[in-house]
Each structure stands twice: as C-alpha cells, then as structure tokens.
C-alpha cells in the first residue's frame, strides 16, 4: 500500500452520544483503512459501534454527538468539511445502502422518480437520459421488467426487490466508496445470497470500494478482502478475510466463529461465550472482552491492549492466540499458551 493514500482512513475515532444521563461513549477507538477498490468488513454484535463508525464516516451522527479523531476520504479530512464539501462527499463520492430500505424511500413516489431525482437535480442529467441510465442499472441488478418497476411504488415491491432498488440508487451516483450497513439482515437467506452476489458483481465491474457492516463473520469473509472485528466500541482485530478461519488471533473473533459453526460440517460442537456483548460505556479499564474471555489474565483486567501486529493483521489482545503469529513480531508480547 504505497503511492496514493488509501481511499478511506479512519484514525483514532471516538464518538460520544448524548443520552438522558449525559454524554455516553459509543466508540472509544476505531481505526480503519479502506484502500481504493477493496472491500473491508466491519463486523460486530449490538453495541459494538460498527454502525456508528460507518455513520461517522459520512457525518450522519445525531447533531449533538461529539466526535474526535480523523476521517480522511481520498486524503482530505471529512471531519472539518464545510456544508458544500459534505454535500459533495455524500452525493458524489460515497453512497450508502441501509438495512431497512423501506425506511429510506418515500412510499408515495414511484421507484422511477426516486431513482432519477438525484441525477436530475444534483447532477443536471436530462430526465430522459437519467431514466435510461437507471433502467439499465435496474437490469444489471437483476430486475428484468425494469420499465414496469419504474412506474411502481415501494409498497408494491418485496424487501429483496426494494433493496436492489436501493443498490441501484447507490450505483447511479457513480460513487467511489459504497457503505453497506447490514444490507441483507432483513432479507431471507436465499435473497441475501442473491443481493450479495449483485453487490459483488457491481463492485468488481466498477472497481468500487466497499465498507460492509455486518454481524455475520462468514458472510463478511465471503464478500470482503479484509475484516475488522469490533467489540464494545473498539476495533479488536483486523486481518485478511482468507485468514479468518485459521488464523484469527483475538479470542473474541474466535468465540464468534465458534458460536456459528458451519451448518454442513458434521458435529462441530457449539461453543458459547458467557455473558452478553457490552457497549463502550460499560467497559472498565482493561480489555473490554476480558470478563467473557476464557484466556483472560490479571493484566487483561487492568490494562487495555492496543492494536498490534499479529500474523498478517492486527489484534488488540495481550495474549493473542499462538498460531496466529506465523512469524514472531518483534514488538508483540509473547506468552506461551494454547487456546
């Protein structure tokens, strides 16, 4: 990764949100890099801060949220962008697909109006040309009877179809980065496979980068190049997707994998982690996962580990799993223990 800067860099991001009981930390430290054209997954359970991180990239947090740290898109700082720059970023450079398409699309206007509006108003495309463009895109995402669908309204479409409309809307702006926030969580599993395949193809054709937010590690590994695992408001591990199953170093990543064994593999036992996922504000001074971790030692409860090299990735763990370190890292703490 030399030469031009990565497309998106999130550096030491911290976010506090206002609640009834004052400001609450939701992200205590998020670091993330998305090089141009690659797909990075942000994986976590509820309270991990994965969606907040994605929203912080586009400055879509509640108005009284307090954010520190740096978010750089294509080398320029997003956090200090003015209104015009922010509009440009959202309209031209980054597109977002949400979990619930129905909540993000006006139910009384036709699909065609929804899809062409942004092109016509913000890009000055002629209506006829805009229509031709989105019709072609709808066909590309697997909607065969595109011209009929253009005249329909959202309530007439199924969830899977509507999500494809949202993807079309995202692609129509010709963005460089796609942020997909649990785009298939509300869909049936067979529809999920289809929608993910569509996103995959569209990305490959355009060299589009993606930040993919999900709770599903296996899905993340299937469609992304790298995986960042978040827990309690911080990134705890970052590694190449192809190494996920063999070389995950962080106990939490491993625990997540063990909680969802391969459905087809025979008699792989289910191993449950005790406790529940915490939110950032609930954590103590030590490692956020320590209370649930089978390998936690005294140090884990008192000192918060920071991301340090482990294998081909990074792990925020005092005692990362031994087999993750293919080559011993000079700075990394080394303690002999199994898993």
């Amino acid at each position: 990764m030399t030469g031009s800067p990565p497309l998106l860099v999130v550096d030491d991001l911290r976010v506090d949100l206002p609640t009834r009981d004052g400001m609450r930390r939701v992200i205590h430290r998020a670091d993330l890099t998305v090089p141009a054209g690659t797909a990075v997954a942000l994986v976590g359970e509820s309270g991990s801060g994965k969606s907040m991180t994605a929203r912080a990239v586009l400055r879509l947090l509640p108005s009284r949220a307090r954010t520190t740290g740096s978010v750089r898109f294509d080398g320029s700082e997003v956090t200090t962008l003015g209104a015009a720059g922010l509009r440009r970023l959202r309209a031209h450079d980054v597109a977002m697909v949400f979990q619930d398409p129905r909540a993000h699309i006006n139910p009384v206007r036709t699909v065609g109006d929804f899809l062409t509006e942004a092109l016509i108003t913000t890009r000055g495309v002629r209506p006829r040309a805009a229509e031709a463009k989105v019709t072609a895109l709808l066909r590309e995402v697997g909607i065969a009877d595109a011209s009929r669908r253009m005249r329909q309204r959202p309530p007439e479409l199924s969830g899977g179809l509507l999500q494809r409309v949202m993807i079309t809307a995202a692609l129509a702006g010709e963005p460089r980065l796609l942020i997909a926030d649990e785009p298939t969580t509300a869909l049936d599993v067979t529809t999920q496979a289809e929608v993910m395949a569509i996103i995959d193809e569209a990305r490959a054709e355009r060299g589009l980068a993606m930040l993919f937010i999900t709770h599903d590690l296996a899905l993340a590994a299937a469609v992304c190049d790298r995986i960042a695992v978040m827990y309690a408001g911080g990134v705890v591990e970052e590694l190449p997707a192809r190494h996920l199953h063999e070389r995950a170093a962080h106990p939490y990543t491993r625990a997540l994998l063990a909680s969802r064994p391969d459905p087809a593999a025979t008699a792989e036992p289910l191993r449950a982690v005790p406790g529940r996922p915490l939110s950032a504000f609930e954590t103590g001074p030590g490692c956020a996962f320590a209370p649930r971790c089978a390998h936690a030692q005294d140090l884990c409860h008192t000192e918060r580990p920071s991301l340090s090299p482990a294998g081909e990735g990074l792990a925020a763990c005092h005692f990362p799993a031994a087999d993750a370190r293919v080559t011993p890292q000079p700075g990394a703490r080394s303690t002999p223990h199994g898993r």
């Binding site: 359970e45 697997g142 999920q192 289809e194 909680s259 969802r260 459905p263 289910l270 191993r271």
Partner: protein, 273 residues
C-alpha cells in the same frame, strides 16, 4: 400425568391447512413429535412455518386438519379456565421478541411465582424456592429474579420466557424463532441451554426457525417448508448434509460459511421475493 400412556406422541398434526382469503398460508402439513423428541421446522418468510406453530399452540384456528397434543385436541375458545389450565401442561411457547414476551411492569421472579401459584399449591417459602430453582435452571440468579424485564438483556429475557414456559412442566415446547432476535454469541448460549434442558427434562421441542445453520444444535429431526408445503423431512444430519429437495439444497447453499461465495440464481428474474 400418570394416566397417560407414554406411547402417545407429544404432538400429532394431520392435514393442517390455513387460508387467509384466497391466500393459502399452510397447505396439508402432517407432522409428529414423540415424547422428548425434537423437530425443527425450517422455512423462509411466507413459508407458513409461523402460522403452523400458531395453529399448534391454539393462537390460530386451522381452516382444516387436526392438532393433537398428547392425544388431546385444543379445548377451544369457550373452554373453562380450569380446562385451559390443564391443557397448558401439554404445550407452551417461547416467542421471538424478547422485549415483548414479558410483562414490563412485573419483576421476573414474580411472573414465575404467579404462574406457579396458578398451577400448584405452592405458597410462601416453597414457592420462592421453586422460583429460584426455575431461574437457576435457565442460568439466572436471585438478583436478576428481582429485576424488571427492562434491566435484563435480550438473552436474559429469553431465559425468563423459557423458565416461565417450563414452570408448568409442559410436554411440548414450541420455540418460535426464539433466538432470531439475539446476538450471535448469545444465540449460542440459548441453544446450549435448550440442549441442556432437553437432556434433563422430558420436554419435546418444536423449533421454528429461518436459520438452517442452527438446526443441528437443537434438533434431531428437521422439516423444511416452502410456500405452505412441506418439501422435505428427515433426520437433521441427513437433510443438512445430503438434502434431496432442490429447495432445501438452495436454502443450505445460501447459508454463508467457510469457502462460500454468494451466487445469483437467475440474472434476469426480478419477480422473486
């Protein structure tokens, strides 16, 4: 229930059918669960799995077909409270939404005590002991028993719902997407708990789920539904590793796992859900 011959199935469903207007939600479903057995009903949205479950527990009236629990039919709407109370020991249900499954104003220990008082002669200290025992059975302590539901996490609430259902020692427990709303790491806990409970008690499970991936961890047998019909049934092991029906195969192949890549079934089909 010593008067019941134990050979009677915990659940026998024959020719179950449900229509809403012109729409056929459930079409000719037959199934049977032996005492202490476990059957998973797997399907996607619109498969009719939840409607089937609701007819089995009596929340929905079948258009046709019969549901026999321990050899008995549902007592019906006009049945006396005493009759319904007796029937409660045949079947209980755990719902999907842990946030709406409990009375938000009632401490969870009290909600168990209320049910026990309804069904047993236990009062005072023995009643409190039984509540503690039930809570312990699902991995909750006294402090959590004294809490209101809102102080508990989703997983803990689901444990309470399970304890409440088990309070009447039902012969069959229907679990309707009981772990779908929970975090992955918490799902595993609840599935493990369910496995433990079935080993300790003689309760049978009917496990309704959209998630083929977790079936094997709770159930011996599986039944796959698609558009209101049963498309495949058999031992979970066989159905998962060597599915016969094309739909089952597609369902299995859609579950993300190691080495999996998402694929488009048809590039030119927009009318599917």
């Amino acid at each position: 229930m010593a008067d019941e011959p134990s050979s009677l199935p915990a659940l026998r469903v024959t020719g179950l059918r449900k229509t809403f207007g012109d729409f056929v939600a459930v079409d000719g479903v037959d199934l049977e669960i032996v005492p202490g057995g476990s059957l998973a009903v797997v399907g996607e949205s619109g498969s009719g799995k939840t409607t089937t479950a609701r007819m089995i527990v009596g929340l929905e009236e079948p258009t046709a077909g019969t549901v026999l629990l321990g050899g008995r039919a549902h007592p019906g709407h006009r049945a006396s409270t005493a009759e319904r109370r007796r029937f409660a020991r045949e079947v209980q249900m755990v719902f999907q939404d842990p946030y709406a499954s409990l009375d938000r104003r009632q401490k969870v220990g009290d909600s168990l005590a209320e049910i026990l008082a309804l069904h047993t002669d236990l009062r005072g200290a023995p009643l409190a002991d039984r509540v503690a025992e039930l809570l312990d059975q699902v991995g909750l302590d006294e402090r959590q028993g004294a809490a209101l539901p809102r102080a508990l996490s989703g997983g803990q609430r689901q444990r309470v719902a399970i304890a409440r259902a088990l309070a009447v020692r039902p012969r069959l427990l229907v679990l309707d997407e009981a772990v779908a709303a929970l975090d992955v790491s918490v799902q595993a806990q609840i599935l493990t708990l369910l496995t433990d409970i079935r080993r300790r008690t003689e309760v049978a499970y009917l496990f309704i789920t959209h998630d083929l991936g977790i079936v094997r961890h709770v159930c011996d047998d599986v039944l796959v539904m698609h558009r209101g019909r049963v498309v495949e049934r058999g031992p979970a092991e066989t159905v998962l590793t060597d599915p016969e029906a094309p739909y089952t195969r597609r369902l299995r192949d859609s579950v993300p796992r190691r080495g999996w890549k998402p694929t488009r079934r048809t590039a030119q089909n927009g009318s599917q859900a």
